[in-house]
């Protein structure tokens, strides 16, 4: 799969890309939402794995923007904050389907989530 990883902490974005590449995925790291949208337009990835709380445009708005461009793209939100769930519910009410994973997540869990087909109204995989 072609995956863009978005996180403002380089150590997280880079290690995630490393893990994904090791499993054969085509992964790229960006550190902010604006860059993610630009790259998504160009690369047309299959999935986005993005942090929620970031400086500038946050993960959810980034995700919404990318969804508009690529309706078939899977969006996995990655967050260390419980408040994210409310925002996700809100987005769901607006018609967006995002998956949510809580930091810190065991990489195996993330990998298996990516392989499993995405179901409409997917539940969040709690760690």
């Amino acid at each position: 799969m072609k995956i863009i990883v978005v996180d403002d902490e380089p150590i997280i974005a880079d290690t995630l890309v490393d893990i994904l590449k090791g499993e054969g995925h085509d992964a790229f790291a960006v550190s902010n939402g604006a860059a993610a949208i630009k790259w998504a337009e160009m690369l047309r990835p299959n999935a986005i794995v993005t942090d929620v709380v970031m400086p500038g445009i946050n993960g959810i708005d980034t995700a919404k923007a990318i969804m508009k461009l690529l309706p078939e793209c899977r969006i996995i939100l990655f967050s260390g904050q419980a408040a994210t769930l409310d925002l996700v519910e809100q987005a769901r009410a607006e018609g967006y389907n995002f998956e949510v994973l809580a930091k810190p997540i065991n990489p195996d869990v993330l990998l298996s989530a990516l392989i499993k087909p995405h179901r409409a109204g997917a539940e969040s995989a709690a760690s």
Partner: protein
């Protein structure tokens, strides 16, 4: 006996001529003309009456006293001139029965219609059983009689007004008393109907045996405005009025009716009070009454007396109402004199303290003050003596059963009519429940803060942990390559350091902080800024720090950190899309009391500012302008912490487009101010002397 005016007198016997023992012959006695002159021209009134009552003779004095010409008097029946018809029957009856009259009181009618009081001294010339004629002397006692009657009336009225508590009870006897004293037949009291500005008749009295049906009716049904009718005129002028003879030219509404029913004279006087006349008293007489200045003066005095009576009644009524309000109030209300002795104690005070009014009135208020606070009472009395009021003074009191209660007192000086302070009135509110609630609220906020902090910490820790998780996974995967694995583990180690640092910091907030410790202000502020680093970055907030070196205070570290944390957090919330946060800390002194050294920390943000209308509620519990975040308790808690340490907190804010932002300024003394053991009490003394400005 005929109409012969010349009396037949017996010849006087000859008197013995003077001898050496000294008897002189008095010339007139022998001389008929002399005797005639003597009797005719003496100043004492004399007359003689036939047994059938015909006046045989009357001297000049008598004619003059009564105002008659000889032909109008002599030869007429004596009963024509007595005001009381049965008097003459009485007199003649006694004389015929061979009795002598000594000082018989009677009333005689003068030609002009007025009455004179007289005493009649009389005896009879008898010829065997024949009543020849009477010898009558008349002493005019009118003045004496009138005066006596008036004095009696005055005494009666004074007594009536002193003993009575309602005007209603008193008006009837009052009218009767005055009517009797002045020989009037009808009296009325008019009172001002304040709402409509009209005089209405509230009471009238008619002499028994007389009746003026139409006049009474008219009086009862009419009302007079200012200047209308006699009552209205007296009201307007506030002076008495006396009409000797009611004539139609007086333009009195009831004039014609009065004349028809035989009323001739009227006088009226106003009931005077400090605020002006409140009523009029009127008296009517069938017989003509001549203007009598002495009587007028009496009535004017009486008018004032009645007025004062009414004022007293109103004051008593007002006082009763006030006492009823105080007694039934839900607030405990008590009063004391300047020596601290309880002078009043209402029902709610009884309930609050357990002492009944009888048990505590007359005893010192110190009974309900805990011993260690007795000095407070001196301070309170001192302020009261200076005429100062004490508002919402929070302190502790003790009930009869020994329980302590938290109370809030409002104490006001009580002054006499000269403005001198004579005591104090206090309203006592039991705030024990309030205080419990406040304590609960503080705990809630602390828990909420802990929760928020925990959320922040969790977030701060989650990222490094995420990194470590990934690095360990990669290290395992890369293991055959020792170098690469080693690099991963090195990075993981550093991330774990970060975690440790954050954990240490935040746990530091919750160390047991029940006793003051040395706290480095700069360090505490830096710790907080470090904790909020991410939030500051995300919002693009520029931080400027300016700390003087080695700023230390002795305080409850956790609470002081919480106070700063609240303010910094608020500043961050105020700048969602960027701004500047400036924190300054320096040595300083308390604003008003330069003896107290300490540290001043100012926290400035360039957020939208606090609107003036919110300013006064800023430190109230549950006040918040944040739509969905927070409990609204942050600033209230912060102020509580500052006050607990004996410090001060001020805020300034601007909301203009070109100039907006908020500055909080906190002063902490180097050392927590000496506490008396109860934090509520400490904040209480702050409340009296130096109100927090916000």
């Amino acid at each position: 006996m005929g109409a012969n005016p010349i009396m037949k007198v017996p010849k006087p016997s000859k008197r013995v001529k003077k001898d050496s023992s000294g008897f002189h012959e008095v010339p007139f006695y022998r001389d008929h003309a002399g005797l005639t002159d003597f009797l005719e021209n003496a100043v004492l009134a004399m007359h003689s009456v036939a047994p059938d009552g015909t006046i045989l003779w009357a001297n000049k004095a008598e004619l003059s006293l009564l105002g008659y010409m000889p032909e109008e008097y002599v030869g007429h029946h004596i009963s024509e001139f007595h005001a009381d018809k049965d008097a003459i029957d009485d007199i003649l009856g006694s004389l015929i029965a061979h009795e002598e009259m000594q000082g018989y009181k009677a009333r005689l009618r003068c030609k002009d219609g007025t009455i004179r009081y007289v005493r009649i001294h009389s005896n009879v010339l008898w010829n065997d059983e024949d009543f020849i004629y009477s010898r009558c002397f008349i002493i005019d006692v009118t003045d004496h009689e009138r005066r006596a009657k008036r004095i009696a009336a005055q005494h009666t009225i004074t007594r009536l007004l002193a003993e009575s508590t309602s005007l209603d009870d008193v008006t009837g006897p009052l009218l009767e008393s005055i009517c009797n004293a002045s020989e009037c037949d009808f009296g009325t009291v008019w009172l001002l109907d304040d709402l409509q500005q009209q005089l209405r008749c509230v009471k009238s009295w008619t002499r028994p045996g007389t009746a003026f049906p139409q006049f009474e009716n008219a009086t009862a049904s009419l009302s007079f405005g200012k200047g209308q009718g006699l009552p209205g005129r007296v009201w307007a002028s506030n002076e008495p009025a006396w009409i000797e003879k009611i004539g139609l030219d007086y333009h009195l509404p009831r004039g014609p009716i009065a004349l028809k029913e035989g009323i001739h004279s009227v006088f009226a006087f106003p009931i005077k009070t400090v605020k002006g006349p409140v009523g009029v008293v009127e008296f009517f007489a069938r017989e003509l009454k001549k203007t009598d200045d002495e009587f007028i003066n009496l009535m004017v005095a009486l008018g004032s007396q009645i007025g004062q009576f009414m004022e007293r009644q109103q004051a008593a009524e007002a006082q009763r109402r006030l006492a009823a309000i105080v007694e039934s109030s839900d607030d405990a209300i008590a009063s004391k004199d300047l020596n601290g002795i309880v002078t009043s104690w209402n029902r709610s005070a009884e309930r609050m303290f357990g002492y009944k009014a009888e048990e505590i009135v007359g005893r010192p208020i110190l009974l309900v003050i805990p011993p260690e606070l007795h000095r407070d009472e001196d301070m309170i009395l001192g302020k009261i003596r200076r005429g100062e009021k004490i508002d919402h003074f929070e302190t502790v009191r003790v009930t009869k059963s020994g329980d302590r209660i938290d109370v809030s007192l409002t104490i006001s000086p009580v002054k006499d009519e000269l403005g001198r302070v004579i005591g104090a009135a206090k309203i006592v509110r039991n705030i024990t429940e309030n205080k419990k609630m406040e304590r609960a609220l503080r705990i809630t906020e602390r828990l909420a803060t802990a929760g928020r902090l925990a959320a922040t910490v969790a977030h701060e820790i989650n990222n490094p942990l995420e990194a470590v998780t990934n690095l360990v996974y990669l290290a395992k995967r890369d293991l055959p390559d020792v170098n690469k694995a080693s690099q991963r583990l090195e990075l993981a180690s550093r991330e774990l350091d970060r975690v440790a640092h954050i954990a240490r910091q935040t746990l530091g907030f919750y160390r047991d902080s029940s006793s003051p410790v040395h706290l480095n202000i700069g360090q505490a502020l830096d710790d907080l800024l470090s904790l909020y680093e991410k939030r500051l970055e995300v919002r693009n907030i520029n931080v400027v720090k300016q700390y003087e070196p080695s700023l230390e205070i002795t305080a409850l570290a956790g609470e002081v950190r919480q106070a700063f944390s609240n303010l910094i957090s608020n500043s961050i919330d105020a700048m969602p899309s960027g701004g500047s946060l400036a924190i300054r800390a320096r040595r300083s002194h308390e604003w008003r009391n330069s003896d107290v050294p300490g540290v001043r920390v100012t926290i400035l943000d360039t957020g939208s500012g606090i609107e003036p209308r919110h300013r006064k509620n800023l430190f109230q519990p549950f006040f918040t302008t944040k739509a969905d975040v927070g409990t609204g308790l942050g600033l209230w808690i912060t102020r509580g912490i500052v006050e607990k340490h004996g410090g001060k907190i001020h805020v300034k804010s601007r909301t203009q487009a070109a100039n907006h932002g908020t500055v909080f300024s906190i002063f902490f003394p180097d050392r927590v101010a000496a506490s008396r053991g109860k934090s509520s009490h400490q904040s209480a003394s702050r409340l009296i002397d130096e109100p927090i400005s916000a």
